[in-house]
Amino acid sequence: MAGVPQRLRTTWREVPLARHLVLAAIGLVLVAFTLPAVGDFRATQLTELAYIALAAAGLTVLTGLNGQLSLGHGALMAVGAYTTALLLDERDAGPPLVLVVLAAVAATLAVGVVVGVAAARLHGPYLAGATLAMAVAVPGIAVHFRDQLGGEQGLRTYTPEIPGWAADAAYYLTGSDPSRSTYVAFLAWATLLLGLVLLANLARSRTGRRWAAVRDDEVAAELAGIHLGRARVSAFAVSAAAAGAAGAMLAIADRNVAPGAFNLNLSMTLVAVVVLGGLGSLTGAIIGAAVLTLLVSFGPGLGRSLGLDDLASEQVAPLVAGLVTVAVILLAPRGLAGIAQGRLAARRARRAYTSAPSSDGGSPPSSSTPAGSGSAGTSTAVSTPTGKGTP
């Protein structure tokens, strides 16, 4: 970046929005050109990747940045998904999609505040247990309110037609009419990128710093004037909002919302994605989601080619996901994004040493500290929520 004017560089460093918007715009352009080329099947997979990544991004902010564990984020996705399905329950008569997604976010946010208030009082295994209970109980609610929520069958979701301007734009860009799958995939990715920009902004802001302070030392955070409860509840609410938007995308993509989609497996997948990607890393959430969706799509085929029967083949993906997650926890606690970051930092350090030894401002390049330059900004090491008494 030697030739870049100083002012531009300062802006890049000091204005998170500039950084995040540029990255998101690049992402959106990539998506816009990739999606029409990949076909419906891949587009559907990319949609799933996007909403899993979005929910995981919310979870990684909660767990990585604020130190609160949630094993029940799948249930929060259900809140967003059911809100969406309830609002899009009639053919051709639904409110604008933007409002539907906002309503899903708002509803999940409200639930997130309630759960967050309870969660703020809990620590470690108790918090894990409570959120796990939420993951198990919420699908049951849908079954119980058969008349309103459709029971086991769930609710049909009517997604609006592709708006004319979007179809025109797609035709102009690619020379063909977009399919429904392509359109939904684009929606999901646009939502993901917007969500990531907002989460990254927050992580880089005073709010994110407060969350991290509460995570690292409650007593010191309180002495700095931070209200522990408010910090925890706001982190939970933000995290829930991301899960709600992800749920809305799921509802639109699947055209049907049923309790089976929000089983424990979903919640555990989100945890695995976050661990794989590296706690607190937003880029890691995308990487982890990509790895897991690939696993899910190739797992059964892999199982059959290994000579397993269908039932056993279905279990290959969760098995491998579980094993990989455990391996990452044991071998690379900072996740895949952490590994990549470490490599980058090491290479930069080597270059700094060989070219200009005086250029790194006095701090030894071999420091064992987290690089802290991912999009979430703050560090990515494994967090263990702990309670503390008086100092």
Binding site: E14, V15, P16, L17, H20, L198, N201, L202, R204, S205, R206, T207, G208, R209, R210, A212, A213, R215, D216, D217, V219, A220, A221, E222, L223, A224, G225, I226, H227, L228, S234, G361, G362, S363, S367, S368, T369, P370, G372, T378, S379, A381, S383, T390, P391
Partner: protein, 270 residues
Amino acid sequence: MSASGSTTAPDSRADTSAPVLELHDVTVRFGGLTALDSVGLAARPGVVHGVIGPNGAGKTTLFNVACGFVRPTSGTLLHRGAPRARFLPHQLAGLRVARTLQGLGLFDRLTVLDNVMVGADRTARSTFWGGLLSTPGSWRDERAVRDRAMAQLEELGVAQHAGRYPSSLPYPVRKRVALARALVSEPELLLLDEPASGLSSDEMDELAGLVEGLTDRMGVLLVEHHMDLVMRVCDEITVLDFGKVIAHGTPAEVQTDPAVLAAYLGEDVA
């Protein structure tokens, strides 16, 4: 017992400025154990007030009462003359009181700079929504907070470590970072819990100079075991033993007080 087991804030000095913090007749019981017994104490602006006493005398408990971590069994706590019956630790910063912790309590996964920026949170203005949307106002405020934090690190001579993580730094540097985090909030009263522990005698000299230099801006309440430091920097000293105030006065007065000598020799002062 030679000194008063005083029940109100002693006012022997000619200091006219009103106390930032007062404890009146404060008693704290943990079950059967009386950690503080009718303790009175006042911390004034511009005054370094030492709190000394043998291990388990109740010094940290006194700080915890002052900060709202421990609610007194009886007695009153006043900030700037106003009684604070039910106040919580996070309100302390707003009352312009800062404290360093015996165990440092640095945020391990935040950089040194971010640690100090958290300390400056009281003066930060940017809101949740400003941060979410990354408004120009929010990043201007962030820059101001960052500049203040950097200036504080520079003042304490540790600015070169701004980008490092606390765990990678030597203990004396970490102590300075913790001090910077407390000072950056521009407190009017600073509570220091054993700031000299783990420092070499040279570093202790620097610390003494530093504490003396603070008094034009704030009052200091100092819990410390190193007597040379206490005698050098303190304007007044309160001595605790078994939760009771056994002496209060200038360093010279306290040093020659028979009750204090007895307590420090481990004799029973019944």
